[in-house]
């Protein structure tokens, strides 16, 4: 039987969750013998094929991220949300207290440390911002939630092992963290 395929994407987040995944250390050797890694930030392959398991790290803050999340949902059977940003929205949601245009102005022109005499703002060449940054499950159905900032390597390993055993896991309370 062919190995199940896994793809992961790095959306609005810091890559800490993928770093935690790499913290599985030697357990990765065993995992790679049982699954086929396809598109991930680790392999740097960006085209998402049909996969069994899709993983999203990070929330959704712009149109591209929304598109990628929907694309991955379409192409995978089981979708995992990794980390507080994907599960709860996380630190990205701090921008939701003000309007997107005010946020951009603050970041690109108004802060004291910014040198931008002509007041250039990102626009046509950058994906448009969503009105609010949102967790993944606001846009697509999520099957497995793994909160934590970042989640522990043990928790990530647990989730993969459960899926390989044919179960859809829920992170048990003793293992769960939000910080």
């Amino acid at each position: 039987m062919t190995k199940p395929k896994v793809a992961s994407v790095w959306l609005e987040a810091c890559a800490g969750c993928h770093m935690s995944f790499l913290d599985m250390d030697e357990r990765l050797v065993d995992l790679f013998s049982r699954v086929e890694i396809t598109a991930t930030p680790i392999s740097d392959i960006k085209v998402i094929p049909e996969v069994t398991v899709g993983v999203i790290e990070g929330g959704l803050g712009n149109e591209e991220e929304l598109h990628i999340a929907k694309d991955l949902r379409e192409k995978c059977k089981i979708l995992i949300a990794w980390g507080d940003c994907a599960v709860f929205g996380g630190i990205n949601c701090m921008r939701n207290f003000i309007k997107p245009e005010d946020m951009l102005r603050e970041a690109y022109t108004d802060t004291a440390s910014t040198v931008n005499p002509t007041g250039v703002l990102p626009h046509v060449d950058i994906p448009a911002l969503l009105p609010e940054a949102i967790p993944v499950d606001r846009a697509v159905k999520v099957d497995v939630y793994v909160p934590g900032c970042p989640p522990d390597a043990d928790t990530i390993a647990y989730v993969f092992n459960e899926i390989l055993e044919g179960r859809i896991p829920k992170v048990p309370s003793p293992m769960m963290r939000y910080d």
Binding site: A81, D84, V87, F88, G89, G90, I91, C93, M94, N96, F97, E132, P135, D137, R138, V142, Y145, V146, P147, C149, K170, V171, P172, S173, M176, R177, Y178, D179
Partner: protein, 636 residues
């Protein structure tokens, strides 16, 4: 009052409680731990605001909040059905969605009851859209800050501030999801007129809404190396505290007496200065003065010098020894033994108020009656009479009792004295003297008056006797003594009175030899410092390097700090309490008794083992207080 027993079943287990208990109280008495709580807190009125403690009758039916629903005979309750757990999780998700919780950078993460409950209930995501409403932070106070993003509206802080501290600073403003806590109807914590800065609201807060700046990121409770139950050593209330130790520092202290009269309060001094004390510079070696500086010496050399000085001056009649009133009973007993062996005159630091109080109460002690009552009896009084007293300055917890007695128990407050009342807004009468006819009028119908005596009264034996006569005339009697609360500020002042008796007055004379034992927690009085500077030879034993005290010594000896000692204190709460050792002292540190014995040995006298004066002298009375009689006073 007889208690009617009731029997009910919780999750099939037979539980016994009494009529008037809530379901939650019965569950707790029977060790059932499956009812979660969030807005409930021991010692506070229950309000059922958070809906976490919902239970349901067996077989379904309407959900009840366990903290407010009375237990009834034969009631059968389930606490952990699928429906209940789902409901609780829903509540938690709504709490997370309604405010802005960022656990990943919250200073309270890991020490937050909301987070703990959410994890226990398996909340791995939130189904509801987040509101992202902006909430302000209140950072106007130097020690206490409030981040309304984390608030779950449990009102524990509001109830603590009202029911325990009596300041009634905190309240709620706005409606619905916009509700926030506020101070003084629209002010902030730092700008509040009524806030006493005790930090009880932060201790009560289950999340990180109200926090103490000192504690932020200093470690979660569960990360601490040790947690020790002890008492606050600073004032004579002797509040029960829990001290958290981490990497050699006390990082946090909390009041623990949640169900007692003080409700687990600490004053600002106890809550904020005790943790810092473990980081103060220490005296680590014996030091001997050489000109204007010190050199390190061995214990042997230092004690030899002190002993030889004592030997040379012992017969002059100009030798003295001073001890802090924060010393334990055991240390005071050793000190009394030192006095007897060396023929030295002794005094506690707080001698002035001690002497007046001691002489003033003597005629009543001889009657076999206890001439004062426990401070918490202020809560049972129907008239509180301040006699030249400002409790907030001396015993802040007693001030809380006054406020709670007036605001929640209907007591009337009378202030007698030349200054303005320390409790504006809640004082019913201000008078210049106790003999004022208006005071007489207030006391005529009083069932349980209590008199709180300030330092200027306590320093005068005549004034103390007069007030006690006045109290007896107006039948100020409590179960444990006459209804008088002396504001004796230093922690074991009653123990010092018990152990050392009255030897005051010599401090103003020139001394040839002076031995000082300081605990370093309260500043020395100008009188004591003058005595040290004028003495021909001064030996000072103190834990901390604190000018000007440590600069006045000819020999400076290390002492264990309060967190390295253990022993007993007499407290104004009417009981003897135990100071526990929190951290081990330096291995080179010598015990107090050992030091005194060595000094006596070097001085050529023998110090016998001395036992503490019996504590019954302080707390027991031979006859009931209401048999006390007024005594004649001789006006001078």
């Amino acid at each position: 009052m007889s208690e009617t027993k009731i029997k009910m079943f919780i999750d099939g287990k037979e539980c016994v409680g009494v009529k008037g208990d809530t379901i939650l109280e019965v569950a707790k008495k029977n060790d059932i731990t499956s009812i979660p709580t969030l807005c409930w807190m021991k010692g506070l009125t229950s309000i059922g605001a958070c809906r976490m403690c919902v239970v349901e009758p067996e077989g379904g039916g309407r959900m009840l909040t366990a903290c407010t629903s009375p237990a009834e005979e034969g009631l059968r309750i389930s606490t952990a059905t699928e429906r209940l757990v789902a409901y609780r999780r829903q509540v938690l998700e709504l709490l997370f969605a309604g405010r802005n919780h960022f656990c990943m950078f919250c200073s309270q993460s890991g020490d937050c009851e909301l987070q703990t409950l959410a994890i226990e209930h398996g909340m791995d995501s939130v189904r509801y859209p987040y509101l992202y409403a902006p909430f302000e932070n209140d950072t106007t106070d130097a020690r206490i800050q409030a981040d309304h993003n984390r608030c779950i509206l449990c009102q524990r802080c509001v109830r603590t501030c009202s029911e325990k501290v009596g300041a009634c600073t905190l309240g709620m403003k706005k409606r619905g999801w916009s509700m926030t806590i506020e101070a003084d109807f629209g002010s902030t914590i730092g700008q509040s007129d009524t806030c006493v800065g005790c930090g009880a609201c932060a201790q009560a807060c289950p999340t990180g809404t109200i926090t103490l700046r000192d504690l932020v990121y200093r470690g979660r409770r569960k990360d601490c190396d040790a947690v020790v139950d002890t008492v606050c050593p600073i004032c004579s209330m002797g509040c029960s505290i829990k001290a958290y130790v981490r990497t050699g520092s006390i990082v946090r202290v909390e009041g623990t007496n949640l169900e007692g009269p003080d409700g687990g309060q600490l004053c600002a001094e106890g809550r904020f200065s005790l943790p810092h004390s473990s980081e103060r510079p220490r005296v680590v070696r014996p030091m001997i003065r050489t000109g204007s500086t010190f050199r390190e010496a061995s214990w042997e050399e230092a004690l030899e010098l002190v002993g030889s000085k004592l030997k040379a001056t012992r017969k002059s009649g100009k030798t003295g020894a001073l001890i802090s009133s924060l010393a334990t009973d055991e240390e005071l007993a050793a000190f009394a033994g030192f006095r007897d062996a060396a023929g030295i005159r002794t005094s506690a630091y707080s001698d002035d108020s001690l002497r007046g109080f001691r002489e003033g109460v003597e005629p009543f002690v001889k009657q076999g009656v206890r001439p004062f009552t426990a401070a918490h009896n202020i809560l049972k009084a129907d008239r509180v009479i301040l006699v030249e007293a400002d409790p907030q300055k001396i015993l802040p917890i007693a001030a809380s009792y006054v406020r709670v007695a007036v605001l929640h128990r209907g007591a009337e407050l009378v202030h007698v004295g030349k200054n303005a009342t320390p409790f504006p807004g809640i004082t019913d009468l201000e008078a210049q003297t106790l003999q004022d006819s208006k005071v007489e009028e207030k006391l005529r119908c009083a069932q349980k008056p209590v008199f709180i005596l300030g330092p200027s009264v306590l320093s005068s034996a005549l004034a103390v006797t007069k007030v006690l006569n006045f109290a007896i005339e107006h039948r100020a009697f409590f179960e444990d003594g006459i209804g008088v609360v002396p504001l004796l500020g230093e922690s074991n002042v009653l123990g010092a009175m018990n152990a050392l008796g009255d030897q005051g007055g010599w401090l103003e004379e020139e001394q040839d030899f002076l031995y000082v034992y300081s605990t370093g927690l309260v500043p020395e009085s100008a009188k004591a410092l003058n005595a040290m500077s004028r003495s021909g030879f001064t030996a000072i034993q103190t834990p901390f390097l604190t000018p000007p005290l440590s600069n006045l010594a000819d020999v400076l000896l290390p002492a264990p700090a309060w967190f390295e000692r253990e022993g007993h204190f007499f407290t104004l709460e009417g009981e003897r309490r135990t100071l526990s050792k929190i951290m081990d002292p330096d291995p080179g540190q010598k015990g107090f008794t050992e030091i005194l014995q060595t000094i006596c040995e070097k001085a050529g006298v023998k110090m016998t083992d001395s036992s503490a004066a019996p504590f019954e002298n302080v707390f027991s009375s031979k006859i009931s207080a209401d048999l006390a009689k007024q005594v004649q006073v001789r006006e001078v």
